[in-house]
Amino acid sequence: MDFLIFQVPMLTLQATLDGLLLGILFALIAYGMALQWGVMNIINIAQGDLVILGGYIAYFMYLSGIHPAWGIIVCPIVMYFVGVGIYKTVINKVVDRDLFISILATFGISILMMQLMNFAFGADVVLANSEFGTTMLFNNSVTLPNSKIFSAVVSIVFAICLVLYMKKSKLGRAIRATAQNARAAKILGVDTEKVYAATFGINAALCGVAGALIAITFTIHPYMGLPYTIRSFMIVIVAGLGNLPGVAMSGMGLGVFEEFADYILGTEFRIGSVFLLLVLILVYRRFKLSRKREYLK
């Protein structure tokens, strides 16, 4: 236990800001997961690998001399089609099956993507330098890399756009209708097959944006996808399905919680403490649920 963080107020501020910025980025990935989980009832294990693939697109733009920040435009477009492609080849065959089948299928896609990326791009850890510089607050005692601020802002913009699109557009309405009741939507003339493909594509596009941002702020490696899958899974679990503002809140909350756990318990307990929190939340939920059920009886 180390309480240095509370003795130095600037550290508290630094940790909070770092956690918020990190959380917003994770929330973007979780957003995609929540969307397709809600609509298609699929838990996508390959979520993190889609993120990494998006990161590689940004990285190769960077290598060819284009500023990697443009990745936030290019990656979602490319990744949308990758997502639709994956849907058409694999996901459409498992979409009506039970959850276990879809987990197996996406797990397979995840392994395949990892190995293909490793084969195509090599096993080196890479990153794209944005040269964005740093924002310094309070006489250089709190530092915020501009790349992280950029990531957070882009994530928020994409999230807002997505919410608006879901509310206003025809496809958005069709997606929401399908999420509520796929059969009824079908009867009323919604082409659910198309809706599913678009949903998976949108999810992949969001992953692409997140990947580009991660290439700019962190590092990319073919085997680094799983932590992103797990994080977004946790965020969605904490927020509950179909609760998009909840996803944003739980993303930021988890980000801050993680940072504080890092300072107080030590870096080695960072991920562990998040898992512990997840277990506590699930137990609490179950506890609440069982009380409700008793009431209903």
């Binding site: 240095l4 130095v8 600037m10 550290l11 630094q14 940790a15 770092d18 990190l22 190995q115 490793n118 084969f119 090599g122 096993a123 080196d124 850890v125 890479v126 990153l127 330098n129 740093t134 310094m136 250089n140 005692s141 530092t143 890399p145 790349s147 991660i214 962190f218 590092t219 490696h221 073919p222 085997y223 680094m224 799983l226 932590p227 940072e259 890092d262 300072y263 030590g266 870096t267 080695e268 960072r270 991920i271």
Partner: protein
Amino acid sequence: MKITKIILSFVSAVAILLSSSAISFAKVVGDKIILGSAISLTGKYSSNGVHTQNGYNMAVDRINSMGGVKVGGKTYKFEIIYYDDESNPKRAAQLAERLISQDGVEYMLGPYSSGLTKAIAPVTEKYGVPMVEANGASRSLFTKGYKYLFAVLAPANLYLDVAIDLAVEKNGGKPVKIAQAFEQDAFSQDVRLGILEAAERTGSKIIIDDKLPKELNDMAATLAKVKAVKPDVLVVSGHTKGALTAVRQIAEMKVDVPMLAMTHCDAAKLSKQHGKNSEFALCASQWHKTLTYKDDFFGNGMKYAADFDKEFGYDPPYQAAESSAALLVFKDAFERAGSFDKKKVRDALAATNMQTFYGNIKFAEGGQNVDKPMVLFQVMCNDDGSKCENKVVAPTKWASAELIHPIPSWSSR
């Protein structure tokens, strides 16, 4: 009709048995000495696995073209059977088993990484097969009492302890404050042990001791703490990921620390990926091409680097150089043993005392090389950061440049 079928299948079965038994005495076939190696050609270690394989192949070609190995008045050539272990320890152990019991290999070359070497060593030990390895530095490999394991490289606990001595020296002989962050894997934790010993020896104090998770991609918390407590040295070891993440975030967060010591800088292509931001980082290395060790096969480090570049198109990282050295050790041992008996070759290996372009090689009881110190290089860039070079700064005997200490603050860079 039926009988002919039975006879036919019987004959073919015997033929298959015979042909496979012919392979299974493959330790020396004709004028070839067969070595075996499980190596990571795919999976997460594949880049370093390829460096290792290139190093082995380069040495095999060189030794074969320069007269081969002379055993008992006859000349033999080296040949290596490779299998891809997919960077997976279980697979590596299986493949070692297969190399030895099916392919009949009686001399092994090591895989890449401490973890995989740890998986293979019990197998080679069980069969009494001598293994010369060049890429497993974890100290635990050398404390298990293995008799058939020989490592041409210095153990992991010696990677960065020199840096602490250097920091103390620059501090006028007074103890220093150390901040350290190590990944939780066998290798990095051994590096950490080395630092703990050096701290105790010099009376230095460790004020931050973070353990980084395997899926590390963010060190912001550790670095914020470093900023708050202002240590004299920051030590980071977490493979290439650790080196890249640390340098990126130190630059972004403007963390001023007088000395930054790391591992895996050259594997991470630190100066290429980060340019001027990586300047002044102090890096542990098993080998550097400017060292002046010599041998008859590769000449010296500079010549080795030039030949390697010609053959494979890139500057050799130390992982390749040490792998080449492993073959030189085997050749020397075979010639001194004058026999292909595993036990005799093992005893000859244990008595190795030679110089290669990579460094002096002499094995301790546990199998680690005790005659080759680690070197530290510092990344130094020209003014606009367009060209960065790794210059050896310690130990003084091999230094090609003066250590820049303390690292200039970010506000003046």
